[in-house]
């Protein structure tokens, strides 16, 4: 029997359970896209049938990092750029927990970019939501890795000389098996994509366009937007790597031309998750490791019995 009774508790879940009993005053500005992520995440939870005590939400630093302050589950607000390495160890330590990580574009594509590559490569069974507002918000409006070329800010007074990062393409190359873009202004699609991402058995990366009405007025509100699965203009096979790559490139480029393309960009169902891979080579226990520490009958090996003979 599990030492964690919240896990697998089979009951009807209400999205209101994910709203804290007393809601803290949000640090987000009025009209901020981050509210859209919070709402969509809460709405997705009943659909995936997870209750607050079996969900762990890991965030980085920035406005996006406050997500777990307003979401009623286990939360770990970590350090800038490092939500993924904390989160993926949590998943390895207890695969029965639903692990979600979140951060901003600076957090995930800048300072934490290396972790994104490696977490995607390893295909951990978790969901990563990147709040992409093309700007550093909490530090008051500096150019970010997704800011367009030529973007002027106090730290780039002559305009950025750098081309923006391509978050979707990069994730595909790195090995993510579910990649989508959605927008705060499209709550229904966002909820569906989050639910799909959570249910996906592998690393799911959502690039979530979140408008910043305070520091990035140029980016408008990401309207109008096009759902590429709904539009006849974009006919591509979401499970085909090459077609997905082409679609991603288009999506990334057109954003800076004012056309907002959203939807599922790549979905690969076959590849085993990292946990499965590790178990298959005998490098991870079948039972969740965390359970063992709370099982009074667990027996613990001693080096005296198992290893010391090599030293005699």
């Amino acid at each position: 029997m599990s030492a964690f009774s919240a896990i697998g508790d089979d009951r009807e879940i209400d999205r209101d359970e994910f709203t804290p009993g007393i809601e803290p005053q949000a640090t987000w500005c009025p009209g901020c896209g981050d509210f859209g992520v919070l709402k969509a995440l809460k709405q997705a939870m009943p659909e995936v049938g997870r209750n607050p005590d079996e969900v762990a939400l890991f965030t980085g630093i920035g406005c996006s990092g406050k997500l777990n302050s307003y979401f009623n589950s286990y939360g770990f607000h970590t350090i800038h750029g490092r939500s993924l390495p904390v989160a993926r160890a949590a998943k390895l330590a207890n695969p029965d927990i639903e692990v979600i990580a979140a951060g901003g574009d600076g957090d995930g594509y800048g300072i934490g970019g290396n972790h994104l590559i490696h977490t995607a490569r390893e295909n951990h069974d978790m969901t990563y939501i990147v709040f992409n507002n093309e700007i550093f918000g909490l530090t008051k409006g500096q150019t970010s890795p997704t800011s367009p070329k030529g973007h002027k800010s106090k730290t780039q007074p002559h305009g950025s000389a750098k081309s923006p990062i391509r978050p979707l393409s990069q994730s595909l190359n790195a090995g993510a098996t579910y990649i989508a873009r959605t927008a705060a202004v499209n709550p229904n699609q966002a909820k569906e994509i989050i639910a799909e991402a959570i249910e996906h058995d592998g690393f799911a990366h959502i690039d979530f366009l979140t408008q910043c009405p305070t520091w990035n007025k140029d980016a408008k509100h990401y309207v109008p937007y096009t759902d590429v699965q709904q539009s006849d203009d974009f006919d591509f096979d979401v499970s085909d790597r090459a077609e997905a790559a082409e679609m991603m490139r288009k999506t990334e480029e057109r954003l800076y031309e004012g056309e907002v393309l959203t939807g599922r960009m790549y979905v690969e169902g076959e590849r085993p998750s990292y946990g499965q891979e590790k178990r298959s080579i005998g490098e991870m226990p079948e039972e969740p490791l965390a359970e063992r520490y709370f099982d009074e009958d667990a027996e613990w090996e001693r080096t005296y019995d198992n290893l010391l003979q090599h030293h005699k």
Binding site: S2, G21, D53, A89, L92, A93
Partner: protein, 632 residues
């Protein structure tokens, strides 16, 4: 120099199998009833470069490297790139023969492989003249030739062992047994044949020398292992089942040992993209209730600064190990130093709240790693085990019974689900995981673990209120800061009562003191014994608790001596500085003997350093530095 001991040095190139041969030699001597200790020296290079290991053997406990050596087996560097030319770093092939020549004691034996090192070269270094001067017994043997006859040149190591056994008259039985246990088939046969041939060939030479290898016996079953083994075994026995890391010398050894054994112990090892991730993963696993560790060496540990601070702020238990090597920056990757003390004590922003232990030897590596896990999980605080390349790689024997201890996998201060139901919750529904005043009057506020019903809380690196929500309220700030820092007083009291990590040596009423920490302790103890034999009145104290510092214990000891010499392997007297800062006095009592040339102290060096310091003489040796007490 002490009598009745063998210090056998095997020297060759990196990749020549020097390390494994020395391990077998040491193990064989241990099995024959002797006490052994090894000292390892190698370059940051995979193939080629002078590398040597000294095996010191006595019929009583041996705690340190000795002074020089009395038997040199010089195999020559078979990987030298320019064997015949004077290269940038000197004549490489020959280096294992002539480098540190002067440390071979008078009357010592010098056995070299003339199959590799040719006569002309050897003439050039004036071996004959040196030998005459020092009364050395030079024995050239074609070890390579003997090995080749049975198939493979690499077996010249085995030939060297056979010849050593004959010259020292110690028999080959234990070596044969080891070959039989470690090898099979043709390989075993060939090595046994090489061993025998070399033994016979050397016997015929009838080398006349004065080295007497003592005979001994053990009262109980012995094991031989390294500091890296002991740290790993301590972690495993204390229930650690998760490690994350990134390779870096010399920490890699612990990471490797753990990675090899964790699967069979039901655990998980993760090699990750960098040390920031490594430490972050260890926190993630610990957050879920798993006893976890990570570690690195200097530069890699620097990357762990921010996760380390996060562990302090979120009160996430974790054990980090730091294997020091000579710095700054990349420094000298394979050479020991004790210069990361301030680094591990203070790295990361804000007031630090952490535990730091510096084990002095292999025994302490085991017990103090266990203590680090116990304290970390009970008090929800990061604990660091800081050691160095010296302890990491040295081997010594000890009774197997030292490890015959119960396993303890207790995850520490975690509530059960029933307890969570009765525990305080905030009106938001969150569990109060960071109470200002925990119920039992302690400073530890017990935690919940994801998956436990109604245990939800927020862990955050921001300052936070009892349920974990971010708060900048001044009163809350003070309450949380005080509780986190006061844990250190509780830990100090706990250690004073239960641990006994400080080690006392020598006559209690001595006039002078030698104060030492970490890996230099046992060498200093040997020096103190000799100083007392020389008529001085000296005692020593080895300190392991770097934080929280044992203020009372060390004050009392410093109070009892007229003057103390602080011995450490760094250039800026970091431990002396720490002692002065923590105690706030005795600055005029403590002088320092420092060494930072990449080699650990020899006992005789500490003896010399002590004698010149109390006689007010300048230090004769140029490989050490004397730093007078404040005001001198």
């Amino acid at each position: 120099m002490t009598d009745n001991e063998l210090i056998w040095r095997i020297a060759g190139g990196s990749g020549d199998g020097i390390d494994s041969t020395s391990q077998n030699f040491a193990k064989a001597l241990m099995r024959s009833g002797l006490h052994v200790f090894t000292h390892r020296h190698y370059p940051s290079r995979i193939r080629g470069g002078h590398t040597y290991v000294e095996v010191r053997a006595k019929d009583e406990d041996v705690q340190s490297r000795g002074d020089g050596y009395n038997f040199l087996l010089a195999l020559g560097d078979s990987f030298a790139r320019n064997p015949q030319d004077e290269a940038y770093y000197g004549k490489e092939e020959l280096k294992p023969l002539y480098e540190n020549f002067d440390d071979l004691r008078e009357g010592g034996v010098l056995l070299y492989d003339e199959g590799l090192l040719d006569e002309e070269d050897v003439d050039e270094i004036e071996l004959e003249e040196h030998a005459e001067e020092n009364g050395w017994h030079v024995v050239p043997m074609d070890l390579r030739g003997i090995a080749k006859e049975h198939g493979r040149e690499i077996m010249r190591n085995t030939a060297g062992i056979g010849a050593t056994a004959a010259i020292l008259d110690i028999g080959t039985e234990e070596f044969e047994t080891l070959i039989e246990q470690n090898m099979a088939g043709d390989m075993q046969e060939a090595n046994l044949a090489v061993l025998e041939d070399a033994y016979e060939a050397a016997s015929e030479l009838d080398v006349d020398h004065d080295i007497e290898v003592p005979e001994g016996s053990h009262d109980e079953e012995q094991v031989i292992l390294s500091g890296s083994n002991a740290i790993s075994y301590g972690a495993l026995d204390e229930g650690c089942r998760f490690i994350s890391g990134y390779p870096m010398t010399p920490w890699t050894d612990v990471f490797t040992i753990m990675s090899q054994h964790l699967p069979e112990f039901g655990g998980i090892s993760e090699q990750v993209e960098d040390e920031i991730a490594a430490a972050a993963l260890a926190l993630g696993a610990s957050h879920m209730g798993v006893k976890s560790m990570s570690g690195s060496s200097g530069g890699g540990f620097a990357l762990m600064s921010e996760p380390l601070g996060l562990a302090e702020m979120t009160e996430t238990p974790v054990v980090l190990v730091e294997a020091m090597r000579a710095g700054p920056s990349t420094g000298m990757p394979t050479k020991p130093e004790q210069a990361d003390l301030e680094h591990v004590l203070y790295t990361s922003q804000g007031d630090s709240a952490r535990v730091v232990f510096a084990p002095a030897n292999i025994r302490e590596c085991y017990t103090q790693t266990r203590a680090a896990f116990r304290i970390a999980y009970e008090y929800q605080i990061p604990a660091i085990v800081v050691y160095d390349q010296k302890i990491q790689g040295e081997l010594r024997n000890m009774p197997a019974s030292h490890f015959d201890e119960e396993a303890n996998a207790d995850p520490g201060s975690v509530l059960t689900e029933d307890e969570i139901q009765d525990a305080a919750h905030h009106a938001s529904g969150k569990f109060q995981r960071f109470l200002h005043e925990p119920e039992d009057g302690s400073n530890v506020s017990p935690r919940s673990v994801p998956g436990q019903k109604d245990g939800r809380y927020l862990a955050t690196g921001n300052e936070h209120n009892p349920s974990g929500h971010i708060s900048e309220d001044p009163d809350n700030r003070i309450a949380q800061m005080e509780r986190r820092l006061n844990k250190l007083d509780d830990i100090r009291a706990d250690l004073d009562e239960n641990a006994g990590h400080q080690t006392y040596h020598g006559p209690e009423d001595a006039d002078y003191g030698v104060l030492v920490w970490g890996s230099q302790q046992d060498t200093a103890f040997e020096a103190v014994d000799r100083l007392n034999d020389n008529g001085h009145s000296v005692k020593a104290l080895g300190v392991s608790d770097m934080a929280p510092y044992p203020v009372e214990e060390v004050s009392e000891w410093l109070d009892s001596v007229d003057q103390a010499l602080v011995v450490e392997m760094n250039a800026t007297a970091q431990f002396r500085g720490l002692t002065q800062k923590e105690i706030g006095k005795y600055g005029d009592k403590m002088s320092s003997l420092l060494k930072y040339n990449g080699n650990p102290f020899e006992p005789a060096e500490i003896v010399d350093g002590f004698e010149s310091s109390i006689n007010g003489e300048d230090l004769a040796a140029t490989n050490m530095k004397y730093l007078p007490a404040a005001g001198d």
